[in-house]
């Protein structure tokens, strides 16, 4: 047994912090998984950059309408109370501070809140999409990520080594090991897996961890 959360469990944990009625943008890929774990009795309204508010689940295979897609170009459906709008209005929602939460993936997050999640360097064809817009404007910009890279290097660092997506934009990180807030340019541990010590967590983190009060156990269901 490895002592870390699965992606589904990280997504589940992030979903617990989304309040009823919140307007939420989930980044393409892993963050989209958060939508599956909305707590019962709460209804978040999902925004997609390409111009839909309040879209719903994917349609059954074969029933896709390819004019009804999300930013990841996956087919979606509409919930009652949905609306369509053009891209300038859509990014007015993003940039204008109207979203409550944006949840994004990350290559690296710095203790300053800097985020790198769009480019792994100068090789290949660069592509940015809406990432740089999304990190600005949402009242809360959270990241979900494994705590370390596939080869074990820290993803939570003092300063990003990869090209930045945004400066000082991330306020909370949900990792495979912990829930960490960024406060006054420091990583403050709010929750961690009971099975891992703070020293072990520090050893897997590229910047100093701060404790304010007690650290709660990070408890998630089997998924």
């Amino acid at each position: 047994m490895t002592t870390k959360l699965t992606n589904a469990q990280i997504a589940w944990r992030a979903a617990q912090d989304i309040e009823d009625g919140a307007y939420v943008n989930l980044g393409i890929g892993f963050p989209e998984m958060v939508a599956r774990y909305q707590p019962p009795g709460r209804q978040a309204i999902f925004h997609t950059e390409n111009g839909i508010l309040n879209f719903g689940k994917a349609p059954p295979e074969g029933k896709e309408d390819w004019d009804l897609i999300n930013a990841g170009k996956k087919a979606v459906t509409l919930n009652p109370g949905a609306s369509f709008f053009h891209h300038a209005d859509s990014f007015a929602m993003v940039r204008g501070g109207h979203l409550d939460v944006a949840i994004l993936g990350a290559y690296e997050v710095a203790e300053t809140g800097d985020l790198a999640n769009w480019s792994t360097g100068p090789k290949g064809v660069p592509a940015v999409g809406g990432a740089m817009d999304l990190v600005h404007g949402a009242k809360r910009v959270a990241v979900i990520t494994d705590h370390v890279t596939k080869d074990g290097r820290p993803k939570l660092v003092r300063a990003c080594s990869l090209p930045l997506t945004g400066v000082g934009c991330v306020t909370r990180v949900y990792t495979s090991l912990a829930v960490i807030d960024i406060v006054a340019q420091r990583f403050v541990v709010r929750e961690k897996l009971a099975a891992i010590s703070l020293d072990e967590l520090q050893g897997l983190t590229g910047a100093g961890l701060v404790v304010e009060g007690t650290i709660a156990d990070l408890v998630v269901p089997e998924l």
Partner: protein, 240 residues
């Protein structure tokens, strides 16, 4: 998700002294008379809210709506493009007496500044006012051989909006030219308060026909048979 509130007093709750209030409407079309009068009622009962900055294309007409707010002494400053109307007495008196401040903004710049506030654009350049008295003190810049004036965003604490249809999510449609500034103001205010002629269940407004998506709206109150400002003016109605 239910943004509907029971009545007008609940709709205008929390509007405090010194706030910046955007009010939809161009002339009588789109003026949220019932919301304004509910706010006046609260002022009369409690002495608050006062010292308001009101943003609207005009500065009130006759003795109702924004003019009545001005007459009551609730308004410290107007931001508008055209502080005239068929009966601008309320504003004119206070202005000439030095009892109310005026920020005069060209109509298109007013619209664009409000949109910028809603869209997270702190400043933009426009050809409007270049070389005129209204550009005094503003940065200018040349782009592609033409001169432009830098204008700043406008935001508000509260927007008061009149819509035609609303649903519990706050999705809105408007009636004809009553649309005017309202979709922009809904974007630019921290709290957007809407009176709608009819509240319909979520899903009844065709998603393609939504003009203001619910994300820009905070409270919706149904006001059936709402008064039309121009009709009230012509009928000589006073809110006193």
């Amino acid at each position: 998700m239910d943004k509907t509130v029971a009545g007008l007093p609940e709709a205008v709750a929390g509007i405090e002294d010194g706030m910046v209030v955007m009010i939809g409407g161009f002339g009588g079309a789109g003026a949220p008379i019932e919301l304004i009068h509910a706010l006046i009622d609260r002022f009369r009962a409690t002495g608050s809210p006062k010292n308001l900055t009101v943003i609207n294309n005009n500065a009130g007409n006759g003795r109702i709506g924004i003019a009545a707010m001005i007459d009551e002494g609730m308004v410290a400053k107007m931001v508008c493009s055209f502080p005239r109307s068929s009966d601008p007495r309320a504003f004119t008196e206070k202005y000439l007496a030095g009892a109310i401040e005026l920020e005069l903004v060209p109509q298109g710049t007013l619209a664009e500044r409000i949109r910028a506030g809603g869209a997270g654009i702190p400043a933009f350049y426009t050809p409007t006012t270049y070389g005129t008295d209204l550009a005094k003190g503003k940065p200018v810049a040349e782009f592609e051989g033409r001169n432009y004036v830098q204008e700043r965003w406008l935001k508000a604490d509260v927007a008061l909006i009149k819509a035609e249809l609303a649903d519990p999510h706050g999705n809105l449609t408007y009636r004809k030219a009553a649309r005017n500034f309202s979709p922009l103001m809904a974007m630019a205010a921290r709290t957007t308060i809407v009176q709608a002629a009819k509240i319909v269940p979520a899903g009844e407004i065709e998603p393609e026909h939504v003009v203001t998506p619910g994300i820009f709206v905070d409270r919706v109150v149904e006001v059936r048979d709402a008064a039309q400002e121009e009709a009230l003016i012509r009928a000589g109605v006073e809110y006193a």
